[in-house]
Structures are given as C-alpha cells and as structure tokens.
C-alpha cells in the first residue's frame, strides 16, 4: 500500500569486525507476473517486476541477483555479509519498466 520502491534494510545493531551478519531487505513492489487478468476488462495485467538487484559494500559489488516473475509481491530477501570494513552498503533495484530504486545503510563494525 505504501508507494512502490520504498526499501527497508535491516542489519544487526552491534556488529563485530569480521563477523558474518544477516542483512534483511524488503522493497514495496507489485511484482506483477503478467499472467493475472483484470477482473473488469478480462485483459491480462502486464508484467511489472523487479528483474535486477545489485548490492555494493563500499566500492565492491558483493552480489547481484536476477529476479523473475516467480518472486512474490513486496519481495523480502536475507543475505549474509562478512562485515570486515566500515563502509556503506548500497542496494539498488531495477524493474522491467525502467524504474530504479536504491537505499544505503552504513555498516560500522566495532
């Protein structure tokens, strides 16, 4: 219900240097598969989903993902990161209609 492209990234509160931490991210997106029909007109609702996700830790690309129509609405992902430096963690999402959304959190290992 919130606007499309809103991102929430959660990292643990306290991080030890070198620790492997879970990073949880959620983005608001309808992820239309292109296979649903509009109830009133009977036409197919066109595909509208995130297809490319890139995660940067500082200047390094740590992971990239190709998502497809099988990923649910408001996708939620958990991945693990070795927190060995104090650097911004940036996640950028692109969808098939050219929409681009990104969010950054600071990782500060103690």
């Amino acid at each position: 219900m919130a606007e499309i492209g809103k991102i929430m990234i959660k990292v643990p509160g306290t991080i030890k240097k070198g620790e492997v931490i879970p990073v949880k991210a959620m983005i608001v997106h309808p992820m239309e598969t292109g296979q649903r029909k509009d109830a009133k007109t009977g036409n197919l609702i066109p595909e509208y989903y995130i297809n490319d996700v890139k995660v940067y830790y500082g200047n390094d690309l740590v992971t990239s993902m190709n998502w497809g129509l099988a990923v649910s609405t408001n996708p939620f992902i958990t991945f693990y990161l070795k927190a060995d430096k104090a650097a911004p963690l940036k996640m950028s999402f692109k969808d098939n209609k050219g929409g681009a959304f990104e969010q950054t959190v600071q990782i500060n290992p103690q």
């Binding site: 219900m1 919130a2 606007e3 809103k6 929430m8 959660k10 949880k24 959620m26 608001v28 649910s72 609405t73 408001n74 939620f76 958990t78």
Partner: protein, 285 residues
C-alpha cells in the same frame, strides 16, 4: 419381501437423515433463533490455543513479522500524512494533536467508544476512522477520506501505534451498553448460505481446524488492527476483515464500512480483547 423393506427404508429416510443433521446444526438453529442471542461455551482458552498454534505452526508468522512487516511502510506513510497540512483551514493533524501525535498517546485503547453526537445526534459508536473524518471536515476544512483506502488506514495505524503495548480498555457499560448488546447480537446473528454466525467459529468451535488454519477464540480477534495480511498482500482495518469473513459466509448483502452493524460489531469484538496488550500493526496469514 424386498419391496416391503425398500418401501420402509424410503419412508424412514427423512427421519434418519434429519437425526444425522441435528447434531450439527438443525435443532440448534431453531431454538437459538427463538431465544435471540445466546452465549456459547468458549471452545478453547487463549493460553491453550497459543500453545496448540505454536505446536502446529511453530513461530513461522512471528519470524516473518520480525524480518519485516510491510505494514511498517504504511505506518511511515501515516506518520507523514499526520504532519501534512490539508484543507481550507491550513492545519495538519499535528497542529492540534501535537508533533508525532504526542497528545494522542494512550487514546486509541479506548476506541471504539460511545459518542452522543454521532448518527445525527442520536448517539452511537465512534470508531477511529470516523473520528479522523470528523476532524478533517470540522476542524481542518478538508474532504473526508474514503473508508478502507490507503490514507485513512495509514493514519489510523499511526494513531493506534501511539498506544502500542498498552492494555485495551474499551467501555461497555453506561450509554455504550446497549450498543455492546447490539454488537453481541450481530456476533451471534446467523448469515448466509450455511446459516453461520461469528460465534460458531470463534467461540463454540474455537481451537478446531478450518481447513489448515486453527480458529482463534474471540479474545484474540481485536487486539492487532490495522494489520497486514498475506492473503491481502496489503494492510487494512478490522472492518475490512469483517467484510472478508462475512463474504465467506455468502450472504445476499455485505454491510458497508461504518454502518451501525459494523460499528457495534467492532465494539463487541474489541471489547473481547479487553486487558490484552495492543500490538499494531498486526501480521497474519
């Protein structure tokens, strides 16, 4: 000889069939309708239910909620809208109710409540969405928001979140008592294709299965609204959930938002959660 047995069987069939049915619904319906609303015995107590639920489903829903409740985005939207100036008088909700709703802390646990000025001065039950629209029209000079849609759900969620972890304390005595009784009658009113009422699932047969889900007892129904539901992939209010449950009963008509039926029912259902700590937004299947 065979013919005689066959004829006897055919004559006896209605008696055999009706006695098989009456243990489920037949006899009860007529007697209960005659008495008006009647209380059933609660099928399961809250603690037993929570233990059973944890055994069957683990804490899968709780973990999903901790990972991230999409309703938190709606909460942020609500907070933003609360501070946004709207209407001819140039005010926002925060202009009267304080920055971040400071003056509204602890208010939501007493809603819905009796108010003498609603329903054209007759007096009736006031819910938070109704109150939001009254504030908008009277005090802000703004257009009322449509019930069940994004804006009003977001602001209701924000207002309720200011009372999180406080025990729900809805008044059911005094002038509210006749509406509480009306709500109880609604809870026990049989609707739809199978003549079901709310109480059958949530009191009498609470704790039993409905397909793969356990039926929650009445006290667990009203303490977590507005809530995100996986079924909706969206966040909405208790009355939207009533609409969904009632739609499943397949009656001819589903009551509209903020009608007397819905408001009295909301009072009764929320009152069943009296004493429980409010926890919004909720996160359900």
């Amino acid at each position: 000889m065979m013919k005689k047995i066959l004829v006897l069987l055919l004559l006896a069939a209605p008696i055999i069939l009706s006695s098989a049915n009456s243990t489920v619904s037949g006899k009860d319906t007529k007697e209960e309708s005659a008495k008006g609303s009647q209380e059933y015995v609660m099928g399961v107590d809250v603690k037993e239910f929570e233990k059973e639920y944890a055994k069957v489903h683990g804490n899968e829903l709780k973990k999903m909620e901790e990972d991230g409740n999409p309703a938190d985005f709606v909460l942020d939207d609500g907070k933003a809208m609360f501070h946004k100036v709207d209407g001819s008088k140039g005010k926002s909700c925060a202009s009267c109710h304080g920055e971040n709703g400071a003056k509204l802390k602890g208010i939501a646990i007493s809603y819905p409540k009796y108010d003498a000025s609603v329903d054209g001065g007759k007096g009736g039950i006031l819910t938070i969405p109704m109150q939001i629209n009254i504030c908008r029209e009277k005090d802000m000079g703004a257009k009322p928001w449509a019930y069940g849609k994004n804006e009003i759900v977001a602001v209701e969620l924000f207002v309720k979140s200011l009372s999180n972890n406080m025990p729900i304390k809805v008044k059911t005595d005094g002038p509210a008592s006749k509406f509480y009784e009306a709500g109880k009658k609604n809870f026990y009113t049989r609707l739809g294709e199978w003549n079901w009422n709310c109480a059958q699932c949530h009191v009498k047969y609470a704790g039993r299965y409905s397909r793969q889900e356990l039926l929650p007892p009445a006290p667990l129904l009203g303490d977590h609204w507005p809530s995100y539901r996986l079924d909706w992939a969206n966040t909405n209010t208790i009355q939207e959930r009533f609409k969904g449950c009632i739609k499943n009963m397949r009656p001819k008509e589903i009551p509209e938002f903020e009608t007397e039926f819905m408001r009295d029912l909301e009072l009764y259902v929320t009152a069943q959660a009296n004493g429980r700590l409010q926890h919004v937004p909720g996160f359900r299947r």
